[in-house]
């Protein structure tokens, strides 16, 4: 009897968490993404300009 009840509880928790996950995914895809919100993403841009054909290091004394 007790074993059945624990199984039932576990199943209920499983169903509830599954339901919450689905709801979160629905919210994220339908509301958050369309409103422009997304996961935080980091990206680095490395920029150069005016190399002017310089092959060698620049000495501060130059």
């Amino acid at each position: 009897m007790t074993r059945v009840s624990e199984k039932g509880k576990a199943l209920t928790y499983f169903k509830a968490s599954l339901c919450l996950s689905v709801l979160y995914m629905l919210f994220y895809s339908l509301v958050a993404v369309s409103a422009g919100f997304a996961e935080t993403v980091k990206v680095t841009i490395a920029h150069t300009n005016n190399l002017n054909g310089r092959l060698f290091a620049y000495k501060t004394s130059e």
Partner: protein
């Protein structure tokens, strides 16, 4: 000692080893100016070496500048076919009016699309026109920017202009065309400790001769948000701390009754401090969902080793440090 091609290649390898994605871009004027008197063949060999190194680094986009044009379109097409990712939105074929190189480049990172488009000046001297030949022409950069921004706002979330126009023309574009997030410029080769803010656009250049790398770290949270300078809070906090120290020193003098002259200075600094605190408070109130950026100029100093393969290329091509001029 700052810069050097072999050191740049090594620094890029180091940067690529970081956890998050790295986009490598150049605003142009990559090659040597052949008009300064050096042997044309040597200048061309120098340009080939640089192209090879930039291809090896996997630079995602190189904007065509005036010094590139001096090498001629066939040369540039050859370099592009060998892996140099040249872009230009306003360098077009004279008859078809189609761009000679891709006008833009889009980098996809997770849910974000970062677009780069390239522009160069259409006002160019006779020597550049001659080197370009009759088949190529640079059309109006302002009109091109207008068309590009309209298109890229549809196709991307972040729009970045790689410019070889110079600051005055860039300001004109920003004032006429909203929607560009960053202008990464060149031409003058200025040093920018912090980004210059023009309307909602941030402008920057990364000095010259390859001595520094301009590093722009983006924290993207929202595809529709504008950008805020993450370094601003740090700078304001530091400035407030400096003012507090000054106020403390002045207060000691005032309390001792030695001088009343400093009273005015005390009031002035107090007012400035209050203004800074107000700015800091408003920055602290920014919602979590706003996009942030951090800009820094990274010196290519001796802490970076030189890439041995590139050193070898340079040596085999006959270039030596003492004969570099």
């Amino acid at each position: 000692m700052l810069g050097g091609l072999a050191r740049r290649v090594a620094s890029v390898d180091k940067l690529k080893a970081e956890k998050h994605p790295v986009i490598l871009v150049d605003s142009g004027r990559l090659f040597k100016d052949p008009r300064v008197g050096e042997d044309a063949e040597k200048v061309s060999m120098n340009a080939r070496l640089i192209s090879r190194a930039y291809s090896r680094m996997g630079v995602h986009a190189v904007n065509v500048g005036d010094l590139e044009l001096l090498q001629g379109i066939p040369f540039l097409k050859e370099q592009a076919s060998q892996g140099l990712n040249l872009i230009s939105a306003n360098l077009v074929d004279a008859s078809s009016k189609k761009t000679i190189f891709p006008p833009y480049f889009i980098y996809n990172v997770e849910n974000f699309r970062v677009a780069f488009f390239g522009l160069l000046s259409s006002d160019m001297g006779q020597e550049i026109r001659k080197a370009m030949g009759e088949d190529a022409v640079a059309i109006d950069p302002v009109k091109t920017a207008e068309e590009m921004v309209a298109r890229l706002r549809e196709e991307a979330d972040i729009v970045i202009l790689l410019s070889s126009l110079g600051l005055d023309k860039e300001r004109e574009i920003i004032s006429k065309i909203p929607g560009i997030h960053f202008v990464m410029g060149g031409h003058e080769g200025r040093f920018f400790h912090t980004m210059l803010k023009e309307s909602e656009t941030f402008v920057v250049q990364s000095y010259w001769a390859g001595m520094y790398t301009g590093r722009l770290d983006l924290t993207l949270k929202n595809t529709t948000s504008i950008f805020h300078d993450a370094g601003e809070k740090f700078r304001i906090k530091k400035e407030i701390a400096d003012l507090d120290r000054r106020l403390e020193r002045i207060k000691i003098v005032l309390d001792e009754g030695k001088s009343n002259v400093l009273e005015f200075t005390y009031q002035k600094i107090t007012k400035k401090r209050a203004q800074l605190q107000e700015t800091l408070d408003s920055l602290n109130r920014l919602p979590y969902t706003e996009n942030l950026f951090k800009w820094q100029m990274v010196p290519l100093d001796n802490s970076y080793r030189e890439d041995r393969e590139v050193v070898d290329w340079i040596r085999k091509a006959g270039f030596t440090a003492s004969a570099k001029k």
